[in-house]
């Protein structure tokens, strides 16, 4: 099937910076609407700016489509326009089928009412009638997995439970299009994989997902296509992996430290470049089990700092932390760091099996509390499949841990 379910044509949206003016403009717009006059929304008034400008793309049935970009690039605004919460000031959006709510952290529950009561109300808001909700109620409760808390006021829920309940209601309302805004950052591991499964099910059932996440790894593993938003415009459009790569490149090159899930920190010491090198010091893209790997971190300290700590975290593609070597635990004391420099971490024999391993690389201050610079989702180590390796025997799982078999017979 290749039919288009979402069609966005030259859509723009403007916001007003000043609250007072925003109110006046709001009243003026209402007045014009009532009198049957055109809104002239394509013109910018004083203090207004384009939050999104000239956005066009199409999403087909059965596709998972990602919106990536820094904080404030307009991702959520775009999602809200797809839902009809905000109306475009220019251009046209056409949606085929029933569109779900914006699934985001804390999906509009009444704090004093119990989970049970909120399920009914939320479902009613999503357009689910009495019969339908009674049929699906048990399924929703089972998916949300909130146990005895069902009859407890929602205000006593943890943020994870809140999201679980919101997600459960939304997906069971069976929309044709699901809009997901950064929810996986809250739930625990078990719930995250449950959500992922549900989303995959959703897509294979011929439905459509629009997905926003700062977890770029989940973007590439789930979505086929993506757009990169930057400064209210689409700057990259196409295959999800190439869009994410373009974004990674943009973030690393950008001098500005972003405070979002991808890159954050004070910027006093900046990670300028991260390279994966082989034994001869040549940069390589993919590695094999048992191979030599050196991770080279080029940094620049904009001011003199004392005893910083370098950390590399290796994750599995399911975001499980495999190992976390740090300069502190390796008892490496870096007295003073100033200006440009290079820190390397060498693995003589790579113990990882074939797969993709996201890395998080960060530099902290001496207390380990303040972050100078952290790259959370910007680097990925790719290990290729190999048949036989003389150094490391074949084993299942993620890593090879050296060990010895011995048989003692009676």
């Amino acid at each position: 099937m290749s039919d288009v379910v979402i069609k966005v044509e030259h859509v723009s949206k403007k916001y007003c910076k000043a609250l007072q003016k925003s109110m006046i403009y709001g009243m003026a717009d209402i007045g014009r609407n009532l009198c049957g006059l055109k809104s002239n929304s394509e013109r910018l008034r004083a203090d207004e700016f384009w939050a999104l400008k000239d956005i066009s793309f199409e999403v087909k049935r059965g596709e998972a489509f990602a919106l990536v970009g820094a904080n404030g690039a307009g991702k959520t605004t775009l999602l809200k326009m797809l839902n009809g919460i905000f109306w475009p000031d220019e251009g046209k959006i056409s949606i085929t089928g029933r569109i779900g709510p914006l699934i985001a952290v804390g999906a509009g529950f009444h704090p004093l009412l119990s989970g049970r009561e909120n399920i009914y109300i939320n479902a009613a808001i999503l357009g689910i009638g009495k019969k339908e909700i009674e049929k699906k109620f048990d399924e929703i409760v089972a998916f949300a997995d909130i146990g005895d808390f069902l009859d407890t006021p929602v205000k006593n829920y943890s943020s994870g439970m809140y999201v679980r309940l919101g997600f459960a209601v939304a997906v069971h309302c069976e929309p044709d299009i699901l809009l997901i805004d950064e929810i996986l950052s809250v739930g625990d591991m078990a719930f995250q994989s449950k959500c992922m499964d549900k989303m995959h099910q959703f897509i294979s059932g011929g439905k459509t997902i629009i997905y926003i996440s700062h977890n770029l790894n989940s973007v590439t593993s789930m979505c086929q296509r993506a757009v990169l938003l930057s400064d209210s415009r689409v700057v990259e459009h196409g295959d999800a992996r190439s869009v994410v790569d373009a974004y990674r490149k943009k973030v690393i090159e950008g001098a500005r430290i972003l405070s979002d899930g991808i890159r954050h920190g004070s910027g006093d010491v900046e990670i300028k470049k991260v390279e994966f090198l082989d034994r001869n010091g040549n940069a390589k893209k993919t590695f094999q089990r048992g191979e030599f790997l050196q991770i080279k971190i080029s940094y620049q300290a904009h001011k003199e700092v004392f005893e910083p700590e370098f950390i590399i975290k290796f994750f599995s593609d399911k975001r499980v932390l495999i190992t976390e070597p740090t300069t502190r635990h390796h008892a490496i004391k870096l007295d003073r760091v100033k200006g440009k420099g290079v820190m390397t971490y060498t693995i003589e024999s790579l113990p990882f099996n074939a797969g993709r391993y996201p890395l998080a690389i960060s530099i902290l201050d001496l207390t380990g509390v303040m972050t100078y610079d952290a790259h959370e989702h910007l680097h990925e180590l790719v290990v290729e499949k190999t048949l036989v390796n003389p150094i490391i025997p074949i084993c299942g799982g993620l890593v090879y841990v050296p060990g010895k078999w011995e048989l003692n017979q009676g």
Partner: protein, 284 residues
Amino acid sequence: MADSKTVITTYEPDNSLKNGYLLTFKQIYQELTENKWLMYQLFKRDLSAMYKQSLIGFLWIFIMPIINVAVFIVLGRSGIFNFGDITVPYPIYAILGLAFWQIFANGVLACSGSLMAVGDMVKRINFSKKSVVIAAVGRGIISFLIQIVLLAVLFVVFGAVPSKYAILLPLFAIPIIFLTIGLGLILALLNSIVRDTGNLLSVSLNFLMYLTPILYAKPRIGILVNLTQYNPMYYLIAAGRDVVLTGEISEPVGFVYSCLFSISIFFVGLVFFHLTETRIAERI
């Protein structure tokens, strides 16, 4: 539900302009009939959340009018305030009027704040916002029904006898409800853009209550006579009160005009809201 796959929704600036005004009424009608279950759920939610963190709960519905009336009895007994010619025991007269008044006052207040109260949802889900505003009137209606019980108790306590038409009492709430919804829709929308609306409203409702002959009889002379003449709330409340106490509406013409006024405000409110509701989410 119709096959949802075939439904195509388009969002464009000035959608309502392109569709024309006649279609507006059809859309409003459709929206309201499709969302009955939602309105009921929202109403139920309001009701069960209303006194959730309160010890005496629904007793508050009795306490408010009783205190109001008690203050006026004290003022009257002290000779500070003159009730005018009231032939029935004062508490019956006052509570009856207040029961009607609070449908309007509480209703309009609840409506105007209703969108803000669900602001979080409005920003996440595209759903029928009219339903939210209309459901907000529900609480006032429930309070009204409960206060009828209080009224019945007062009739017994004072040994007074209501007219045989007193049973029609709930019917007289209907025009007030229409007026409340119409005004509520307009105020809810304005309030979501300019917050002054809500504050201004609480002040003027207080003022309006004292201007409307509810806690006193309609005076025969003075500026209030002229004002009352153009006050639809007076006719709507007085008619209901007359029917219970005497069985006869003393000013039927004014009552009919006020009913027509209520219904036209109701429709104006709906259209006003429908044409401009796409602006709510971004300003709230």
